[in-house]
C-alpha cells in the first residue's frame, strides 16, 4: 500500500505539490491526469525517493520513504518506475540492460538474471531483440524494454510517467497494450497519462491534478461521466 499524507514540495519559490493526500491499495490501478506542470511527475519521483519532499510523508508498505533511516536503494527495488524520456543504457544490449540491476542490486547470478530478463522481455514482446543495442530499437520498443527492466526487479508497485507521450502515434498502442496486460495481471500501478481512453479502460480510480492540488479523484465512470471540479470539466472538454 502506498500512503501519501499531506505532501508538500517546492522547487525554489515554486510550490509544485500543495498538500497531496492519496492512498493506493494493493492491486489497484490509479491513473493520474492533469495539465502540464501540475506536479504529476514530481509526485512519482517523490514516491520512490528520487526527489526529497518538504513536509508530509509517504509510506510504502508502512516504510516512510523520506525517513533518514530508510534504505532507499532497497525500497526502490519494490517500486519500478518508467519515465517519459527513454533512458535505455546505450552501452548495453537489450538483454544486458534488463540484467544489470538484477546482478548488481539483487545479487542474482548471471544465469538467473538472464533467464528473468529473457522472460520479461518475452512478456513485453521483445523476445527477438535480446542481443540488439537500444539505438536499434524504436521508441515504443525502448519503452517496453524499460518496462521489462523495471519488472525484472520483481517490484510490488509500478509507476509510469507518460510513457507514451514521446512516441509516434502508431507506437502508442503497443506500449499501452503492455500496460493493460500488467493491469490485468494484478500489478499495483500508478500511471500518469494523457491517454483518456486508456485511463477510462484500465483504472480503478482516476486522479485529476491541477496546479499542485489533487482536485478530484473518483472511479473513471464517475470522473469522466460527471466531473465536479470546474477545472476538470475544462480540462476534459479541451482534450476531447
Amino acid at each position: 500500500m502506498i500512503e501519501i499524507e499531506n505532501v508538500r514540495k517546492s522547487f525554489g519559490p515554486l510550490e509544485v505539490l500543495k498538500g497531496i493526500n492519496l492512498t493506493v491499495a494493493k492491486g489497484e490501478v490509479l491513473t493520474v491526469i492533469g495539465g502540464s506542470g501540475s506536479g504529476k511527475s514530481t509526485l512519482l519521483t517523490c514516491i520512490n525517493g528520487l526527489e526529497p519532499i518538504d513536509s508530509g510523508r509517504i509510506l510504502v508498505d508502512g516504510v516512510e520513504v523520506h525517513a533518514k533511516s530508510t534504505d532507499l536503494n532497497k525500497l526502490r527495488q519494490k517500486i519500478g518506475i518508467v519515465f517519459q524520456q527513454w533512458n535505455a543504457f546505450p552501452h548495453l544490449t537489450v538483454l544486458e540492460n534488463v540484467m544489470l540491476a538484477q546482478v548488481k542490486v539483487l545479487k542474482r547470478s548471471k544465469q538467473q538474471a538472464e533467464a528473468e530478463a529473457a522472460k520479461q522481455l518475452n512478456h513485453v514482446g521483445l523476445g527477438d531483440k535480446l542481443s540488439v543495442y537500444p539505438s536499434r530499437l524504436s521508441g515504443g520498443q525502448q519503452q517496453r524494454m524499460a518496462i521489462a527492466r523495471a519488472l525484472a526487479m520483481s517490484p510490488d508497485y509500478m509507476l509510469f510517467d507518460e510513457v507514451t507521450s514521446a512516441l509516434d502515434p502508431q507506437l502508442v498502442g503497443e506500449v499501452l497494450d503492455t500496460l493493460r496486460m500488467l493491469a490485468s495481471e494484478g500489478m499495483t500501478m500508478i500511471c500518469v497519462t494523457h491517454e483518456m481512453k486508456f485511463a477510462r479502460e484500465v483504472s480503478d480510480r482516476v486522479a485529476f491534478f491541477h496546479k499542485g492540488v489533487m482536485a478530484e479523484i473518483a472511479p473513471p465512470e464517475e470522473l469522466f461521466g460527471a466531473p465536479k471540479d470546474p477545472e476538470l470539466q475544462k480540462f476534459l472538454s479541451a482534450t476531447h
Binding site: 520512490n48 528520487l50 536503494n73 532497497k74 526502490r76 527495488q77 519500478g80 518506475i81 519515465f83 524520456q85 533512458n87 543504457f89 546505450p90 552501452h91 548495453l92 544489470l100 540491476a101 548488481k104 542490486v105 539483487l106 543495442y133 537500444p134 539505438s135 524499460a146 527492466r149 523495471a150 526487479m153
Partner: protein, 239 residues
C-alpha cells in the same frame, strides 16, 4: 674529413649519402638498433603504466568532483589545473628534485613514471568532466530508480559511456605519454628510448643518425598506437 669523397663500403651504406661535408654513417646507428629497441620497450612500458595509473587516478578525481565534498573537489581541481598549466618537464622535475626536498628520493624511472602519470591524470580528468556533460542526467536517474547506489550507477552506467566519449582524447594522451618519456632526460633516465639514444650519442657523437633513428622508432610507435586504438574502438564500442 673536410672535402673527402665518401668511399662506398667504408662506413656508408647508402650510396651518395654524403651531403656537403658530412659523412652519414647509418651503419653505426643501425648497429645500435637492438639497444634502441630495448629502450623502446621501456618507453612503451612507462607510457602504458602511466596511462593505467593516469586513467585510474582521473576516474578518482572525477568522483571527487562529483562527490559534492568541497575538500575533495578542491584537491581534484588543483591537480587538474597544475597538470594543465605547467610544463610536463616541470612536473617530472618536481617529482624528482622537488620531492627530494622532502627527503623522498625516487629513481629516475619512478620519477618519470609518476611525473607522466600525474600529467595524464590531470588532462584525462578534464576530459572526463567534459564527457560527463554529454551524458544525460536521466541515465543516473534511471540507474538509481532501479535501486543502484550512486557509486553503482556511476560504475555501471555512467563510467562506461564516459570512457567511450573520452576514447579519442585518451588515445591522444597515450601518444603524449610516449612523447613525454623523452623528458626523462632531465632526471638522468637512461634506459628508455631517448635515454639509450643519448648515451649512445655521448659515446659515438653520431648525433644526427642516432636521433633520426630514434625519431623513426617513435614515429612507428605512435602510429601503431593510433591504429590499434582505432581497431580496439571498433571492437569495444559496437553500440
Amino acid at each position: 674529413m673536410r672535402g673527402r669523397v665518401p668511399r662506398i663500403g667504408h662506413s656508408c651504406i647508402l650510396p651518395g649519402a654524403a651531403m656537403f661535408n658530412y659523412n652519414f654513417r647509418w651503419n653505426q646507428a643501425l648497429n645500435s638498433l637492438p639497444q634502441m629497441l630495448e629502450g623502446a620497450l621501456v618507453t612503451m612500458e612507462i607510457a602504458i603504466l602511466s596511462m593505467a595509473i593516469g586513467i585510474a587516478v582521473a576516474i578518482l578525481l572525477t568522483l571527487f568532483r562529483l562527490s559534492g565534498n568541497r575538500l575533495l573537489g578542491a584537491i581534484s581541481a588543483t591537480w587538474v589545473e597544475i597538470a594543465r598549466n605547467t610544463p610536463a618537464l616541470f612536473q617530472i622535475y618536481m617529482v624528482h628534485f622537488g620531492l627530494g626536498g622532502f627527503g623522498v628520493h625516487l629513481s629516475p624511472y619512478l620519477s618519470l613514471l609518476i611525473g607522466i602519470a600525474f600529467n595524464n591524470a590531470g588532462y584525462l580528468a578534464e576530459n572526463f568532466r567534459g564527457a560527463l556533460k554529454a551524458i544525460p542526467e536521466t541515465q543516473t536517474r534511471a540507474a538509481r530508480s532501479l535501486g543502484m547506489s550512486p557509486l553503482q550507477a556511476f560504475k555501471n552506467v555512467v563510467m562506461p559511456q564516459m570512457l567511450r566519449i573520452s576514447f579519442l582524447p585518451m588515445t591522444n594522451q597515450m601518444v603524449w605519454a610516449i612523447l613525454m618519456t623523452s623528458l626523462g632526460a632531465v632526471v638522468a633516465m637512461n634506459t628508455d628510448l631517448y635515454g639509450v639514444t643519448s648515451e649512445l650519442n655521448a659515446r659515438t657523437f653520431r648525433t644526427f643518425e642516432l636521433f633520426a633513428l630514434a625519431a623513426v622508432i617513435f614515429y612507428v610507435i605512435t602510429k601503431v598506437i593510433t591504429l590499434s586504438a582505432g581497431l580496439l574502438a571498433a571492437r569495444l564500442f559496437r553500440y
